[in-house]
Symmetry: C2
Subunit: 346 residues, 2 copies
Amino acid sequence: MESVTIKDIARMCDVGVSTVSRAINNSPGINVATKQRILKVIEENNYVPNNSARNLKRIKSETIAVLVKGINNSFFSPMITEFEKGIQDEQYTFILQRVDQNQDEIDVALEIEKEKKLKGIVFLGGYFSHSKEKLNKLKVPFVLSTIGMQDIELHKEFASVAVDDEMESFKIVDYLCSLGHKKIAILAASEDDESIGKLRMLGYKRALKKNGIEFDKNLVFELIEGNDRYSVKSGYITTKKMLQLDVQCTAVYAITDAIAIGACRAIWESGKKVPDDYSIAGFDGLEIARYYIPSITTIRQPVEEMARETLRLLFGMINNKPNIKDNIIFSGELIVGESTKRLELD
Amino acid sequence: MESVTIKDIARMCDVGVSTVSRAINNSPGINVATKQRILKVIEENNYVPNNSARNLKRIKSETIAVLVKGINNSFFSPMITEFEKGIQDEQYTFILQRVDQNQDEIDVALEIEKEKKLKGIVFLGGYFSHSKEKLNKLKVPFVLSTIGMQDIELHKEFASVAVDDEMESFKIVDYLCSLGHKKIAILAASEDDESIGKLRMLGYKRALKKNGIEFDKNLVFELIEGNDRYSVKSGYITTKKMLQLDVQCTAVYAITDAIAIGACRAIWESGKKVPDDYSIAGFDGLEIARYYIPSITTIRQPVEEMARETLRLLFGMINNKPNIKDNIIFSGELIVGESTKRLELD
């Protein structure tokens, strides 16, 4: 006779597997009568629950710290979830540390390192212009995750996971050009700002050049300053300003999906339509971009895979081979949504 | 003579304050030429930067743990940001710990407590049906933040911060009724599920009753099971199913904004319109709800204030008065968006 599984029990009780699990684990969130009914069926069928789920894993006091620049950027949410899960699976304690826009993340990391139980660090987000000497001060293994770097050669000396922001940005702007758009505004970080925003700007310029379109600085709109510059609100405010200037453009490239959503809302409020009056393209592949009306044409970064790969590199360095510094470049995926359309010539 | 401020320097250099700050702090993310220009202006004007920003705060090795049920729920993102900031301001290390839907958060907390440096705990999200005896096993101070509880009397024995989910839910459904809607579907958690979903369901039923509308279980649509049940995707899938059944309703109450957004998208894809064919109401007051097209009618929970109040209670217990267990109930705010309208009678 086949042994009874948790799915069989769930079917017999006409409840979901998670409800059976709750009954077995004596968890909250289950109605008492339902629980008794399930436990009765379990007993009658001699079902033996798998113990592993019941024994809470011992959490090590050793810790992994994730230092994140731009913590309120929703791009990082699924990555942080993945880090938290992966770090717990390896039975480390997970420390999440915000780094302010103007703070030096290496100084913050060196401070956390004084805590002797720290075994590894993930730097998440931002843009690195630190010297090799400074980075080498860190004693525990670390991985640079979705971080732009000024110095490509230096980049190779440290473990990292990212997409090629310049190339992916080129890809989506080239796509806008392929739809016939020639006047493409960009909602971008300020010129001083050397973050991924700079790399995405470089990709924008290269795509224009390839398509024989001259770069026009009147089509560059600077986002608000500060921690929230890549946010929905920032895109909304900047687009409102752009619309007041009555700029002649047929497409807008927002360097993040959040900015693109803010742009769509501002355009909608002005009585214009996306994509009929303006095609809008974003970057990142946020889940909400797919459910927005219109859904946003974007470059999807494989965030979950990138987070898992970051941890694989980190645990590899912690457990075996501290000297192997891999650089993993993921490909972004062009997702064509409803926010862009071919330019109709008059 | 007035002393020169950072704002003056920024104005003289024609850059933002944050750029000046980057130059002073020797932070990355600033163009070398800009930095030199700023430093020169600073020198010429004898500007003395405030040192506090430069001296990185010493981080204590003592920790505060935030245990969150439903970590991928975007409702918690701004709260986690606020916790992280507030905990760092008090110079504690911030530990973020995910609790699975079927895990017992007290067991997880007791495990973390073995780590001797833990000074306090925030339980975030979920629904508590633990006994007093079990909760009293915890030795460090803790606060229940945005958690529903089965036993109101028990609730009073522990520090907590929340909105009244039943009452706020009543408020928004009563608003739908006031617009003339009588057939109001609800996208709700499964009947077994005893989370805030249960409290919001109770508010829905009470509002119907007050308005002389009979509760109709054919208008109750159960969300998908699992950690993602309050997500955009869950709302989308559930609404697709509802539309296939060709249910007679004029309004839909989604028990979270994320669900409401998924519902709007599903309705839009079916060729119907919000609010012309269906009025949609959500709950939570997510930022994206305001920027969605249409913007979502919702109950805004003051999440930042709730997070700050949670920490105030916690630090109060840690530092002075471990025996004071306050229960803070915040009021939600009805935000009327574009997703609802008065029912036009034929």
